[in-house]
């Protein structure tokens, strides 16, 4: 469900003359953002902390749903469980963000952000980053290696803030 908090306003900008590098100078070694879970999303992050990729599933009709939500849009049941995924998938799309960006990201730009469709359920797609190893930087993979359809597998990275985020490795680097 769309939410007014997420920057639905569609602006980044563009005026060519307007500050060419609005984010500079970047603060040194600024942190990346950590997930701020809501009630529905909290279990996902508890499982990633255990090194498991799990997706919410309806226990009445068996449908997987993501992002998690209180009830099943198919059968309206409030009963759900968190089902473990194989952690395999394919790149559905990707971008290379360039500045202006928040400082921690600007330092790494251009880096990749990808959407991965899960092998078990291609309509379940997770945003993430393709990296060379679980703790490598967001810009560690050669951009030329990214392509839609490339098989990937999940890895888990512990952030400085103590949360664990899924990251993705090429099946065939």
């Amino acid at each position: 469900m769309a939410n007014t908090n997420t920057g639905v306003n569609t602006d980044v900008n563009t005026d060519t003359d307007a500050h060419a590098h609005p984010n500079a100078p970047a603060a040194p070694a600024a942190a990346l953002l950590s997930p701020v879970p809501d009630d529905d999303g909290a279990p996902f992050w508890e499982y990633t902390a255990q090194g498991e990729l799990r997706v919410q599933a309806c226990t009445q009709c068996d449908a997987l749903r993501f992002p998690p939500r209180p009830c099943c849009p198919h059968c309206q049941s409030f009963d759900s469980e968190w089902r473990r995924m194989s952690g395999r998938g394919r790149i559905w799309s990707y971008v290379f963000p360039h500045p202006p960006l928040l400082p921690g990201y600007a330092e790494l730009a251009p880096y990749n952000a990808i959407v991965v469709e899960l092998a078990e359920a291609p309509h379940i797609r997770l945003v993430g980053n393709l990296v060379t190893s679980p703790d490598a930087a967001l810009n560690s993979v050669d951009p030329a290696k990214l392509r839609i359809g490339a098989p990937v597998k999940v890895a888990f990275h512990n952030t400085d803030e103590g949360t664990t985020v899924p990251r993705w490795l090429l099946e065939r680097p």
Binding site: T6, N9, D15, V36, F66, V95, P97
Partner: protein, 379 residues
């Protein structure tokens, strides 16, 4: 609803990277100009509509401009997706007798003010926990993701996106009020521009603007006595598709069909017109890929054909569907799409700086990729 109400007044401030006045003062100026354009006294205003992101509320506006007793007021969410809905809500209120003179407006200092995506405390909760930690920070990144997939599925290229940017820039070059009036765009400039979020470059992104606009809505009966030629609200619609997720619409079976499809279905169902009858279109253009997506959604072409539709000068004056004839958000001003509404009115009055000869029907759309809205205007 059909043709029961009309836009009879439009007003705007200058557009610039930085304007000295407050958003409140700019809002009042735009509204008073729109009322003066209509020949309606501020004391007759009894309805207001704007965006939830509008910082100046009805209380401030009403008491500043000298409005009368107000009996209808409404705010629409989802950023630029709400633009056309402000007019639609007022049209419904006037058509059903809840009010007689409605004012819709948007005032924004997005040129000199803060970038919303930089606010990490407001932006991180649901559903941003699934996107922002991974560096998908800005609307340009979120739409860039859909754009790359679209290009992959349908063979769309950067040249198609350039066609969109160029059409808007060419119209801005005819419009002295446009921020890019004196700034022509070439293919070489586009192809060598810096990236914002690859596959989107600088010229795929809208402007950052300080400015305000407003329009006045009354009944069709009342419109005949106003100063300007009435522009009738022929049809209006909002759109929130099933299982839609906003600009991060990655989590349903078909992420490339967005709210435009839903709004269009209702719009054409209630209209006497079909897409082929549209003389000129003002399509929300915060990012160039929204145009091919919207062309498909509103039925100007089939699924996957939106990029090819832009070929051969189709979006230019004299083309199949002249687009964003004031320059749009890409090249006139980015005020959450309100300039597209006012430009639609100008086209149907015959007073645009890039006038489509004998234009009598205009589609205006709000932001695609978020819960949206649309208007079908006719003269």
């Amino acid at each position: 609803m059909k043709d029961a109400t009309a836009i009879v007044g439009i007003g705007q401030t200058p557009f610039a990277k930085r304007l000295p006045e407050s958003e409140k003062a700019l809002a009042c100026r735009a509204i008073l100009r729109a009322l003066d354009d209509a020949g309606i006294a501020p004391s007759e205003v009894d309805a207001f509509a704007s965006y939830t992101m509008e910082e100046t509320d009805e209380v401030e506006v009403a008491k500043s401009i000298g409005a009368g007793d107000v009996t209808f007021f409404s705010k629409v969410g989802y950023g630029g997706g709400g633009s056309c809905a402000t007019v639609a809500h007022l049209a419904a209120a006037v058509a059903t007798g809840q009010a007689t003179v409605g004012v819709a407006w948007r005032s924004r200092k997005r040129g000199s003010g803060a970038r919303p995506w930089k606010n990490t405390s407001v932006q991180l909760p649901t559903p941003a926990q699934w996107t922002r930690p991974f560096g998908l920070l800005r609307p340009a990144d979120e739409i860039g993701m859909l754009a790359r997939r679209y290009m992959h599925e349908y063979g769309a290229t950067r040249d198609h996106l350039f066609n969109v940017a160029l059409a808007c820039r060419n119209r801005a070059n005819q419009n002295p009020a446009a921020m890019m009036y004196e700034r022509p765009l070439t293919r070489e400039m586009y192809m060598t521009a810096r990236w914002i979020s690859d596959p989107l470059c600088l010229f795929d992104n809208c402007l950052e603007t300080d400015g305000a606009l407003a329009c006045v809505i009354v009944s069709a009966d009342r419109a005949r006595d106003c100063r300007q030629k009435p522009v009738y609200v022929h049809a209006a619609a909002q759109g929130l598709p099933a299982q839609h997720h906003g600009m991060v619409n990655y989590w349903n079976d078909d992420p490339l069909t967005g709210p435009a499809w839903t709004a269009a279905q209702h719009l054409w169902k209630t209209a006497d017109l079909c897409p082929q009858d549209v003389d000129v279109a003002q399509i929300y253009d915060a990012f160039t890929p929204l145009i091919p997506l919207s062309l498909e959604g509103y039925g100007f072409c089939e699924r996957g054909e939106g990029a090819a539709f832009t070929e051969g000068g189709a979006l230019e004056i004299g083309g199949r569907l002249p687009l964003n004839t004031s320059g749009g958000g890409l090249s006139e001003a980015y005020v959450h799409g309100f300039n597209l509404i006012n430009e639609g009115v100008k086209q149907l009055r015959g007073t645009s700086t890039a006038q489509v000869p004998d234009a009598s029907t205009c589609l205006v759309t709000a932001g695609e990729g978020v819960p949206t809205s649309a208007l079908l205007l006719r003269s």
